[in-house]
C-alpha cells in the first residue's frame, strides 16, 4: 500500500479473491478514514479492471492500476494487458499468486502468470518476498510510464503479501539495460531538417507518440513553421486539433480520402510517433514508394519494421520535434496543401454529407456521432468500442483538446468501450465522457453496467444498434458473397437491462427525436444509455480493402 502511495496512485480498479486477500485486507484501511489514500473501484470482471485502468491512463497520462487475484483473475487480465501493449498504454496489473512453496504444484488457482504475460507485456515480474516490494513496485511504475509506455504485470505470491517488513521507500528511475529516452542524434536531426527543407510535397503522419510525449505544442510549431499538412492515426486524432488548418484528416483503412491518396504522391513522409500499422499502410510493397521517409520514434524496434526509413530520429518527440524545427526554414506549401482540397470535397460530397445529414430512411451511425459531437462542443472525451461504431465515431467526432480519444486501436478489443469509459470518468473527472458501442461490443463487457450503477460513473453510453455485428457483416457483403455467417444478433431488450441497473435510458428511432434525446442525455447527471436504432446495412466508407494499395480507397461500394 505504501509503495503504491509512493508512486502517486489514487485510483485502483480491482476484484478481490483468495490469493490477494492480504492486500485487500490492507486496502480496507487505506480506502477509508484518516488513512484513506485510494479510491478502489470494484469492477464486475477482471478484464474490465484492465480496460478501466487503460481508460484512466489514456485520458490522464497517469499509470492505471488493476488489482486482481491469481488463476482466473490473472488470466482474465491478459486481454487488457495485450491491448495496452499494442496501444502503448501505461498500466500496472498486480495479481495475487499462490505462496512460492506451492508454485509448480498445480495448486488451486495457480497459473504461470509471468510466463503467460511476458510476450504481451513490457515487463513481468514475480515479487517473491516482501523485501522486494518497494523496489519491484517502483520499477514497475517507472517501466510502465517511461519511454514508450506499456503494461507491467506484477505477480504477487501470498507469502510475500503476508511477510512483515519495515517499508523502506525506493525510487527506481534508472535501469542500466533499459534506455527509456534514447539520446538525440544531431546528425539525424540535421538530415531530417535538410530533407524537409528541400521537400516540395511534405506530408506528416501524426501518431499517439505525440500525445504520450506531451508534445502537442511542439508538433504544431513544427508543422506551422514548415507549412506541412498532417494526417493523424486513429490513436493520434487528438494530438492535433481537428480544426487546425494543417490537419488533413485521419489515416488508414477507413480514414479520410485525401491523406490516403496523398501518401502516394508526397515526396517526403514524416512519421511522428506512429508505427505504420497495416491498417494505415495497406499493402506495404506499394506504400509511399516515391517518398523519402523520416521516422521519429522513441522505440528503436519500430524503425524499418514495416516501412523502410531514410532518416530515423530515435528519441522522445518532445525533444526531437523542437530540435528539427530549429533547423527548418519557414515553408510555404500552399499549392501542395490546396491540392488536398478537391479530394476532401469529393469525400465530403460522396461520403460525409450523406452520412451525417441523411434526408430519409432509418438513422445512420455517422449522423448520431455528428450530432453528439455538435452537442458536446468537442469538449468531451470520446471512448469507443470496436467495429463500425468505432470507425464512425473516430471519423465524425471532433477533437479540439488533447487526450480526447480512447479506443482499442492495435488489438481491436470488442468489449473495451464500456470499462474504458468508466476508467476515463475517473481519469478526467471534469470532462464529459461519451462512449459509442455497437450491439455486439456492448454485450461483451455488459456486466460493467453494475460498476457504472454502483459508482454512478457519468458515462454517456450511446448504443448504436443495427442488430448485426456490423463490421463483419459489411465485409461479408463486400468480400464473402453476402453470406452473413453468424453476424445477425438476436438482442435483448436494452431498456429492461437499463432498468435492472437503474440507469436512465432512452431510445431513438426517428431522426427528428435525435437532437433532443442527446441534449437530454447530456443534461442528465450520472450515467445514461441512449439506444439508437440504426439502419441494418449502414456501411463504413471510405474503405481501403485489406491488403490493397493505400490509394485504392473506395468511396462507394459497387455491388
Amino acid at each position: 500500500m505504501q509503495a503504491l502511495k509512493a508512486e502517486g496512485v489514487k485510483t485502483i480498479f480491482g476484484y478481490p479473491g483468495g490469493s490477494i486477500m492480504p492486500v485487500y485486507d490492507a486496502l480496507y484501511d487505506y480506502t477509508r478514514g484518516n488513512k484513506k489514500a485510494f479510491d478502489h473501484i470494484l469492477v464486475r470482471h477482471e478484464q474490465a479492471a484492465t480496460h478501466a485502468a487503460e481508460g484512466y491512463a489514456r485520458v490522464s497520462g497517469e499509470v492505471g492500476v488493476a488489482l486482481v487475484t491469481s488463476g482466473p483473475g490473472a488470466t482474465n487480465t491478459l486481454t487488457g494487458v495485450a491491448d495496452a501493449m499494442l496501444d502503448s498504454t501505461p498500466i500496472v496489473v498486480i495479481a495475487g499468486q499462490v505462496p512460492i512453496g506451492a508454485l509448480g504444484t498445480d495448486a488451486f488457482q495457480e497459473v504461470d502468470l509471468v510466463g503467460l504475460a511476458q510476450p504481451i507485456s513490457k515487463w513481468s515480474y514475480q515479487i517473491r518476498h516482501a523485501e522486494d516490494i518497494a523496489w519491484a513496485v517502483s520499477r514497475a511504475f517507472y517501466i510502465a510510464r517511461s519511454g514508450r509506455p506499456g503494461p507491467v504485470v506484477l505477480d504477487f505470491p501470498k507469502n510475500a503479501q503476508l511477510e512483515m517488513v519495515e517499508f523502506e521507500p525506493e525510487k527506481v528511475n534508472f535501469i542500466r539495460s533499459y534506455v527509456a529516452y534514447p539520446k538525440l542524434d544531431p546528425e539525424a536531426v540535421r538530415k531530417a531538417a535538410e530533407l524537409i527543407n528541400n521537400a516540395k510535397k511534405p506530408l506528416a503522419l501524426v501518431g499517439q507518440g505525440v500525445e504520450l510525449g506531451n508534445a502537442q505544442n511542439e508538433l504544431r510549431a513544427f508543422l506551422e513553421k514548415a507549412d506541412i499538412p498532417a494526417g493523424r492515426t486513429m490513436l493520434g486524432l487528438s494530438a492535433l486539433p481537428s480544426t487546425h488548418p494543417l490537419n488533413v484528416g485521419m489515416l488508414g483503412m477507413h480514414g479520410n480520402y485525401a491523406p490516403n491518396i496523398k501518401e502516394q504522391e508526397c515526396d517526403v513522409l514524416i512519421a511522428i510517433g506512429m508505427r505504420f500499422s497495416d491498417r494505415v499502410t495497406g499493402n506495404t510493397k506499394t506504400y509511399a514508394k516515391q517518398a523519402k521517409v523520416i521516422h521519429l520514434d522513441i522505440d528503436h524496434s519500430e524503425i524499418d519494421k514495416n516501412v523502410k526509413t531514410d532518416v530515423a530520429v530515435i528519441a522522445d518527440c518532445k525533444e526531437s520535434l523542437p530540435a528539427i524545427t530549429a533547423l527548418l526554414q519557414k515553408g510555404n506549401h500552399q499549392e501542395w496543401r490546396d491540392s488536398f482540397k478537391p479530394l476532401m470535397e469529393k469525400e465530403h460530397d460522396k461520403v460525409i454529407e450523406p452520412a451525417i445529414h441523411p434526408k430519409e430512411g432509418p438513422l445512420l451511425m455517422g449522423e448520431v456521432v455528428n450530432a453528439v459531437a455538435e452537442a458536446t462542443n468537442g469538449d468531451a472525451v470520446l471512448v469507443t468500442d470496436v467495429g463500425q461504431n468505432q470507425l464512425f465515431a473516430t471519423r465524425y467526432f471532433k477533437y479540439p483538446n488533447k487526450r480526447s480519444i480512447c479506443t482499442s486501436g492495435g488489438l481491436g478489443t470488442m468489449g473495451f468501450g464500456m470499462p474504458a469509459a468508466i476508467g476515463a470518468t475517473f481519469g478526467a473527472p471534469g470532462r464529459t465522457v461519451v462512449s459509442f458501442s455497437g450491439d455486439g461490443g456492448f454485450q461483451m463487457c455488459i456486466e460493467e453496467l453494475g460498476t457504472i450503477m454502483e459508482q454512478q460513473a457519468p458515462v454517456k453510453m450511446i448504443l448504436m444498434n443495427n442488430n448485426y455485428l456490423g463490421n463483419v457483416r459489411q465485409w461479408q457483403d463486400m468480400f464473402w458473397k453476402r453470406r452473413k455467417s453468424f453476424t445477425r444478433m438476436h438482442n435483448p431488450n436494452y431498456e429492461l437491462i437499463a432498468q435492472g441497473y437503474s440507469i436512465p435510458y432512452q431510445a431513438v428511432v426517428d431522426r427528428k427525436d435525435l437532437k433532443a434525446a442527446i441534449e437530454k442525455m447530456l443534461a442528465t447527471d450520472g450515467p445514461y444509455i441512449l439506444e439508437c436504432a440504426i439502419l441494418e446495412d449502414d456501411d463504413v466508407l471510405p474503405m481501403t480493402p485489406p491488403g490493397m494499395n493505400v490509394d485504392d480507397m473506395l468511396l462507394e461500394i459497387n455491388v
Binding site: Q118, P119, R176, S177, H300, S301, I303
Partner: protein, 182 residues
C-alpha cells in the same frame, strides 16, 4: 511467403542480459513468434559481473534478423543484442564422440582419422573411447561422418556455438560504462 524466397544465411546473435530468471524465455519467444528455428544456443556468464551472454544462431534473411535483434534488445533486462555473419566473428564449437574401443583397436584407420582432424582422445577404457574436437561446425560434422563410415560411433554430440567479435570495440562494457556514468 515472399520472405522465404529471399536468400537465407546463418546469422549469429550475441545477446547480453541481466542475470534474471525468465530472460531466456523472453528471447526465444521473439523467434517463436516469427516461427524462426534456433539452430544453436549457448548461455553463460560473460566477462562482465552480473551479465549473461547468449550466443544464438538461426537461418534468416537480414531484414528479419534485424527486426528480431531489435525486438530482443527492447526487452527491459536485455543490455545489448547484435547480429553478425560468420566473417565478423571468431567461432568455435565442440564435438564429443564416444567410440567402441574394440573397434578402434581393430582398425588403425580410425586413429589416423582422429589425428588427421587434430582431435584429442580424452579417455580410454576397455569398452569405449572418448574423442573431443574443437572447431567450426563443418569440421566437427566432417569428423563424425568420417568416423561413422567405420561404424564405431556409439554416441555423438555437438555443442552450441560460442563466438567473440573480430571488431576492436568492446561495445557492451562501453555501453554499460556510459549508462552508469550518465
Amino acid at each position: 511467403m515472399c520472405n522465404d524466397m529471399e536468400e537465407k544465411k546463418l546469422y549469429t546473435l550475441l545477446v547480453y542480459s541481466e542475470n534474471i530468471a525468465g530472460i531466456l524465455n523472453q528471447i526465444t519467444a521473439v523467434f517463436t513468434r516469427r516461427q524462426v528455428n534456433i539452430e544453436s544456443l549457448n548461455v553463460s556468464a560473460s566477462s562482465i559481473p552480473g551479465v549473461h551472454k547468449y550466443t544464438i544462431t538461426a537461418w534468416s534473411d537480414e531484414d528479419q534478423i534485424l527486426k528480431i535483434t531489435r525486438q530482443i534488445e527492447k526487452k527491459i533486462d536485455v543490455v545489448k543484442a547484435n547480429y553478425f555473419t560468420d566473417e565478423q566473428l571468431f567461432i568455435r564449437e565442440s564435438g564429443l564422440y564416444k567410440l567402441s574401443t574394440p573397434m578402434v583397436l581393430e582398425n588403425p584407420e580410425i586413429s589416423r582419422t582422429i589425428r588427421r582432424f587434430q582431435a584429442n582422445i580424452i579417455e580410454v577404457n576397455p569398452t569405449y573411447t572418448i574423442v573431443q574436437m574443437h572447431g567450426v561446425t563443418e569440421d566437427i560434422i566432417s569428423l563424425f561422418r568420417a568416423l561413422d563410415t567405420f561404424g564405431c560411433v556409439l554416441q555423438y554430440t555437438r555443442s552450441g556455438r560460442i563466438a567473440v567479435t573480430r571488431g576492436m570495440q568492446e561495445q557492451v562494457s562501453q555501453f554499460l560504462e556510459e549508462r552508469e556514468n550518465g
